[in-house]
């Protein structure tokens, strides 16, 4: 069975999504257990796969038994081994943590909800694991479509926000597809490894240049890189809480993984950093992204929206890090994929808990929450620390690598932007913390209020949250191992 892990990782959730859908029509109570079981299997196999990768360097799986350039192959190396673990773990934790939210918000369509949920995760896992450029597009669309379905279930403005997301997402995905087409027209291949093997003779082709630009722009659209970010804040804000805590940690990160994969595996690092001479300007765009994300976040009076803008800034971190063109920056970007997924999950789960109890997430709704939900807010503080970049939470270490990369590349603008964003994050989070710490609890949404009493979220929501919060610190402490044993090998030798 061990050689089938790459397939199982995707297939088990896929099949179980169908089972859940059937269960949604036949017996609604089965949906959640099946979902948990499926994601547990995915989680388990992703971890085993990572260990297998540590032994074998690259795990190749030929789907349908056809060898790569002709058939579709899954290839798992250090980079996607790590991201796979992150995706499956985050999805599983979020699934368990948001069970109550889902019951509260979607009692009628629970089958459909979990179907879309699992399919979304399947899509993401597939994106990460695949070694075929076109297959990636199809899976991207699965993740996007399910994402649209999930996000649009939110309140008031969600459909409009989702529709905008859909337009942007479709443009992005289509651009990606077009870029792959451009590569196909000059190389005749769709397999990533195959393309990169053919490409060196075509480095100066205009088509390859256009393919690169189109692919990257498409991917940027999907990840909400700064000038193209307009869809993200609304979509993430108005999504149901169980959904935003799934999509916010995973979607952008996986797309950033795609970008790094394109940079490292499809267009080789030599092309990216030597032949093209654009990395400096892209880092400058990232600087603007970070600064603008931070400034826009300052203007928000709404917790989720603020977090959404922080995500815009975080995307800037990762893109900038990846484009610095040195080992430290790339390490930081890859590490930040994992770390940012965890910390975003943490803060969005907190929002989920708050919404579950208080039915709101505007700043006014947060008053007195430290007294009411001390553990949730404690976890929030840990998440906030990580986003700010306080050691020993993991956010610090990825920031460390990013700044280190900036210094090595002599790109002090990027360094200043990172520090600036950290400082703004301090202000942002402590504003929230102040509100929930100082102001007395107020009853906005017609609930029974016992101002002095602790009214925590139920244990099924709290325990995963606390696990994530603890995970932030644990991952932070073991950063060295992750970097030395995984990320070090994920970056090709060409990048110094």
């Amino acid at each position: 069975m061990s050689q089938h892990y790459p397939a199982l990782l995707v297939i088990v959730p896929l099949l179980s999504a169908f089972l859940i859908s059937a269960a949604g029509w036949l017996n609604k109570r089965l949906c959640f257990p099946i979902a948990v079981a499926a994601l547990s299997v995915a989680c388990f196999s992703s971890v085993l796969l990572l260990f297998q990768v540590l032994d074998e360097k690259v795990v190749l799986y030929k789907l349908g038994g056809w060898s790569p350039p002709w058939g579709i192959a899954y290839s798992v190396d250090y980079l996607n081994g790590l991201v796979l673990v992150v995706v499956s773990v985050v999805a599983l934790l979020n699934l368990i943590a948001t069970q109550r939210n889902v019951e509260q918000e979607f009692s009628e369509k629970i089958g459909a909800f979990y179907t879309l949920y699992i399919l979304f995760v399947t899509g993401l896992l597939g994106i990460v694991v695949t070694g075929d450029a076109f297959n990636l597009y199809v899976l991207l669309e699965i993740a996007s479509l399910t994402g649209y379905g999930l996000i649009a279930m939110g309140e008031n403005r969600a459909p409009l926000a989702t529709l905008n997301y859909l337009y942007m997402g479709t443009i992005g995905a289509s651009f990606y597809l077009l870029g792959i087409g451009y590569l196909y027209i000059v190389t005749g291949s769709l397999n990533m490894a195959d393309i990169s093997a053919i490409l060196p003779s075509l480095y100066h082709s205009k088509t390859v240049l256009a393919a690169f630009v189109i692919c990257i722009v498409g991917v940027w659209l999907k990840m909400a890189f700064f000038p193209l970010h307009a869809w993200l804040p609304n979509a993430y804000t108005y999504a149901p809480s169980a959904v935003s805590s799934l999509i916010a940690p995973l979607m952008t990160k996986v797309i950033i993984y795609v970008m790094i994969r394109l940079m490292l595996t499809v267009f080789t690092p030599k092309y990216i950093f030597s032949t093209l001479n654009v990395s400096d300007s892209i880092v400058w765009i990232a600087v603007i992204a970070i600064v603008m994300g931070a400034i826009l976040a300052l203007g928000q009076r709404n917790l989720k929206k603020m977090l959404a803008y922080i995500i815009v800034a975080e995307v800037g971190y990762m893109v900038g890090g990846a484009w610095l063109g040195n080992r430290a920056g790339m390490t930081g970007a890859i590490l930040h994929i994992a770390n940012d997924a965890l910390m975003t999950l943490c803060v969005f789960l907190v929002v989920g808990n708050i919404v579950y109890k208080v039915k709101g997430y505007a700043f006014e709704d947060l008053k007195g929450l430290f007294r009411k939900m001390p553990f949730t807010m404690g976890a929030f503080v840990v998440g906030a620390m990580s986003i700010i970049g306080v050691p020993p939470t993991c956010g610090f270490f990825s920031k460390w690598y990013l700044i280190s990369g900036a210094i090595q590349a002599g790109h002090y603008g990027f360094m200043v932007a990172l520090l600036f964003s950290s400082l703004v994050n301090v202000i942002l989070f402590f504003r929230v913390i102040e509100i929930s710490y100082y102001e007395p609890f107020e009853n906005h949404h017609g609930q029974e209020s016992h101002p002095g009493k602790i009214a925590e979220a139920p244990l099924t929501m709290l325990v995963p949250l606390l696990i994530v919060a603890a995970g932030l610190v644990v991952v932070g402490v073991y950063t060295g191992d992750i970097v030395n044993h995984i990320i070090e090998f994920a970056i090709p030798k060409g990048i110094v």
Binding site: V390, P392, S422, E434, V483
Partner: protein, 492 residues
């Protein structure tokens, strides 16, 4: 110097961390305070048990995890760290006792939270003391910043809010804005962050770059309250007095100064500072802070604010001592960490005791208080002598060495500064004592009913006052540790 690997430093850090869940789960105040006390004692014992090892010339090392290639979360117990850890852990015991009296006496709210964060803050302090590299130091430094925030803003009112904001802005802002880039730049220069006797930056960068780093670091550790980044300290005095006492006389500010000293000696190295001639810069900054702080203190009426400005001034003595770059100056500066701690904590305890007993905060309302609270005011007097640097108190030793050091370094202006500041110290402390004891009955502002604060308050301040007197005659182990440290870094 030989090293021993031992888990003790980690234990010393963790012991108060471990007690946090216990504190949180215990409902009864008695159990809670008992746990605090147990933890404090345990911590002190662990620290003290390492003392002989350090005196024998060994270093205790423990690596937790290597987080970045070449940089680990690592503890190393050397003389300077030992000195600081000893001071802070011993004072935690005293402060715990005092807290019990203070908090119960004023019936403060949220005592569980208070004790939890107190324990956390102590963990962080010990962590800073024992950190073996800049990263670990930074980690615990930040941890301390955030752990003390709830303590500073304990009252959760508007005043606490604004001062909490100020506190964070200064402390976290400077640490992220200045220290973090400085740390990264030096990491990229030298590839390591490990403190070494010669300083790991030696021979890596140009004078300009090193100068920038120096500025970033000296001002970056804003907990050291070097002007112009000092104003969080008076603002933070809204906290309950034990907090002010321990954290703003001992832990927080001392962590700041300790970090500055540590970085000056371990990162830059004395030789580098001498060769690039950065001493005058440090001396100038420190002297300015001393003088300005003292002058401002003169005009204060609120007792705690006065003490805060006094602290600002006194902290710069330590920086000044190291900035002199002469062995005796440095010894004086390091010893001053301990001396000032004992003296200043007594003063804060006294202020708190007065507040508990009378509810007064301002000096002008304290006329004649010595008659009613003689023990407290006596202790106050002793401590103020220590701070001023007069015998029969410990403060004298450190100030003496500073004077010697300035002579050794041929820095005559420093002598002048020391003289003036001593005079100023006397000028703002002595009137309080005078008015407390020597006033006509008509002037006395207190009724018969006012008595000493509860025993839990009074006993600790008596103890600390006595210790600060004893330190003059028996400055060991602090003096010995400082001496060892200076010898090791100057290679003597």
């Amino acid at each position: 110097m030989e090293t021993i690997t031992s888990i003790k430093p980690l234990l010393a850090v963790l012991v108060s961390l471990c007690v946090v869940p216990l504190l949180m789960s215990s409902r009864s105040p008695n159990v809670r305070e008992a746990w605090t006390f147990v933890a404090a004692s345990a911590k002190f014992l662990i620290v003290a048990s390492m003392l002989p090892v350090v005196f024998n010339g060994f270093e205790i090392v423990y690596t937790v995890a290597e987080v970045i290639p070449g940089v680990a979360i690592k503890f190393r117990v050397d003389a300077l760290g030992m000195l600081f850890a000893l001071v802070s852990s011993s004072l935690w015991i005293v402060t715990s006792v005092y807290s019990i009296g203070y908090m119960r006496g004023l019936k403060e709210h949220s005592q569980t939270r208070y004790f939890c964060f107190f324990a956390l803050a102590l963990s962080a302090t010990i962590g800073v003391a024992f950190s073996a590299n800049l990263l670990t130091l930074y980690l615990f430094y930040e941890m301390l910043s955030f752990a003390t925030y709830p303590l500073v803003t304990h009252h959760q009112d508007e005043e606490a809010r604004s001062s909490g904001r100020k506190y964070l802005l200064y402390i976290v802002g400077t640490s992220i804005g200045f220290v973090l880039p400085a740390m990264l730049i030096s990491y990229n220069l030298s590839g390591t962050l490990e403190f070494s006797r010669q300083g790991f930056l030696a021979g890596t960068g140009s004078r300009g770059l090193t100068g920038v780093l120096l500025v970033l670091i000296v001002f970056g550790f804003a907990k050291a309250a070097i002007m112009p980044f000092h104003s969080w300290l008076p603002a933070a005095m809204v906290a309950p007095t034990p907090v002010s006492a321990l954290l703003h006389a001992v832990a927080v500010v001392k962590v700041g100064v300790f970090s500055v000293v540590r970085v000056l000696t371990g990162v830059f190295g004395i030789n580098l500072l001498i060769s690039f001639d950065f001493g005058p810069f440090i001396i100038f900054v420190a002297s300015a802070t001393i003088l300005v702080g003292s002058f401002i203190a003169l005009s204060q009426d609120n007792l705690k604010r006065l003490l805060a400005f006094s602290t600002i001034a006194q902290l710069s003595y330590i920086v000044l001592g190291v900035g002199l770059l002469s062995p005796q100056g440095m010894t004086g500066g390091m010893v001053h960490i301990a001396m000032h701690a004992f003296g200043k904590i007594t003063l804060f305890f006294c202020a708190g005791a007065i507040f508990v007993a009378t509810g007064k905060r301002n000096i002008s309302e304290m006329i004649g208080i010595g008659r009613r609270m003689p023990v407290t005011m006596t202790a106050f007097f002793i401590a103020s002598l220590s701070i001023t640097g007069l015998p029969p108190c410990g403060g004298f030793i450190s100030k003496w060495y500073l004077v010697l050091g300035s002579l050794q370094a041929h820095q005559m202006p420093v002598l002048f500064v020391l003289l003036v500041s001593s005079l100023l110290n006397a000028a703002y402390f002595m009137p309080i004592v005078y008015k407390a004891f020597f006033c006509t009955p008509q002037e006395a502002m207190f009724e018969k009913g006012v008595k000493e604060a509860p025993a839990f308050c009074v006993v600790p301040l008596v103890i600390t006052a006595l210790i600060s007197m004893v330190l003059l005659f028996y400055p060991q182990p602090f003096f010995g540790l400082a001496d060892m440290m200076v010898k090791s870094i100057t290679g003597g």
